[in-house]
């Protein structure tokens, strides 16, 4: 059950042009930095990226936008990226904006083998256009379909050789539901340990969901909004 690959290049080697991939993280928090760099190096094109955000101009998914590798973004908020805006307005880039909770839940549906889920978000708005609606107990819901993504690429704090993952603080975000939603899940971790090292009660994503794992390096972990208070 050893799922260890050598590095990011090996982990993403078979991601083809035109593929649908999920990328974990929220803003720049907990993003799979090594795999994004490897995708930029590999030059894979026409990707459809399911990711809550689209990075910034010079970091995260922004790096893949700069190299025009992304055909379509499926996100809830894409606001911090000038290149993104340019490509979107010029028609080079498609974007499908969906509510953040719906995005998370469509990942979770895939993770749990549910074909579709009923959600309230978007009822009565343009998000509901073309979608089936239904009233349960007097409340209206939309039918939203589970995502189908060939690859999910996530970043965890620690992982073991069986693929078990542990996250740190708010990095669990989309990494956890996406890790469980991919047909092939690739996890990069800050620290890779032998199976049996992690406390089985502390594991956030059981290894059955993870197909390839490696220890990343040179994590920048950039902060998007550095907000501080002064010591009195």
């Amino acid at each position: 059950m050893n799922k260890v690959v050598n590095n990011a290049a090996a982990a993403i080697h078979d991601i083809q042009d035109g593929e649908v991939i999920m990328l974990g993280g929220f803003g720049l928090c907990g993003i799979p930095e090594n795999c994004i760099n490897a995708l930029v190096n590999k030059g894979t094109k026409d990707l459809t990226c399911i990711s809550n955000n689209a990075g910034v101009d010079d970091f995260g998914i922004g790096l893949m936008l700069k190299t025009r590798q992304v055909k379509k973004m499926i996100s809830s908020y894409v606001g911090e990226n000038a290149e993104f805006e340019r490509q979107l307005l010029s028609g080079e880039l498609e974007v499908d904006l969906i509510p953040q909770g719906t995005l998370a839940t469509r990942c979770m549906a895939a993770a749990y083998g549910m074909p579709a889920v009923w959600v309230r978000a978007g009822v009565g708005t343009e998000v509901a256009i073309g979608k089936e609606t239904r009233v349960f107990d007097g409340v209206e819901y939309l039918l939203e379909m589970a995502f189908k993504a060939k690859f999910a690429i996530v970043k965890a704090w620690k992982g073991d050789t069986h693929g078990n993952l542990i996250f740190r603080k708010t990095t669990r975000n989309f990494n956890m539901p996406m890790a469980m939603a991919g047909q092939i899940t690739i996890a990069e971790v800050e620290e890779l340990v032998p199976a049996g090292t992690l406390d089985p009660d502390h594991i956030h994503v059981p290894g059955i969901y993870v197909h390839r794992i490696f220890q990343g390096d040179n994590y920048e972990k950039r902060i998007e909004q550095r907000t501080v208070r002064q010591k009195k």
């Binding site: 929220f26 904006l97 978007g122 009822v123 708010t170 669990r172 975000n173 956890m176 002064q230």
Partner: protein, 219 residues
């Protein structure tokens, strides 16, 4: 007339002891600073945290610990982390008692528009549609009129909607109003020094004024 801090202070009075509260970006974030001492309030951040603390001290920022506005923050005693799916799960299941968020427009029946202006670059709705569709109690913090001087309290929203019939209360620089579907914007309080007439002029939707309208008390 209230400034942003004043709006935040007034909304803070709405926060109940023992409650779980989600604060949007902007004025709502400021509310955290004015929650009366002695109240036990837990802040939920929809990126996956219960028990959000203040900004970190300089040099103690942790890239792995941010709020939904992507700002560096801290833990409090009793914090719990979780993933985005569970975060919106608890919101949908009605476990978050109060959501405070900004708006571009609110209608008489409680519709809200706060994510999209046709013709302008659309950044996305983030978690706003999920929050307004699910929270039990939603308060809007906003300016009464927009930069062009037009009322943001309307008979019907003109911008693409974020949610329908969901806003319960509005706090602006001029007033506190309750949204009663079928009735309109029921005026509850005036900002210090603001007259009912000034509020009426700034409100395009139906304003309901019943009896004497007290002035807000803000320390």
């Amino acid at each position: 007339m209230l400034d942003k801090v004043g709006i935040a202070k007034r909304i803070a009075q709405e926060v109940k002891d023992g409650s779980y509260v989600n604060l949007g970006i902007g004025i709502p974030t400021l509310v955290a600073n004015y929650i009366p001492k002695g109240l036990n309030v837990t802040l939920q951040s929809e990126n996956g945290m219960l028990g959000m603390g203040p900004f970190p001290f300089e040099g103690e920022e942790d890239a792995d610990l941010i709020n939904a506005g992507k700002q560096t923050i801290t833990e409090v005693s009793g914090t719990a982390y979780f993933d985005s799916a569970l975060s919106f799960g608890m919101i949908r299941a009605g476990k978050v008692d109060l959501t405070i968020l900004g708006a571009m427009e609110v209608s008489e029946n409680g519709d809200i528009a706060n994510w999209k202006i046709p013709g302008k670059m659309v950044k996305g709705m983030g978690g706003a549609m999920d929050l307004v569709a699910a929270a039990k109690n939603i308060i809007v913090a906003m300016q009464h009129v927009n930069k062009a001087g037009e009322s943001k309290l309307l008979p019907e929203c003109t911008l693409p909607l974020t949610g329908v019939k969901c806003i319960k209360k509005i706090v602006t620089e001029l007033a506190v109003l309750e949204v009663v579907p079928g009735k309109g914007f029921v005026l509850l309080e005036r900002a210090p020094g603001v007259t009912v007439e000034e509020i009426r002029k700034a409100t395009a939707g139906k304003l309901v004024v019943e009896g004497e309208i007290p002035e807000m008390i803000i320390d």
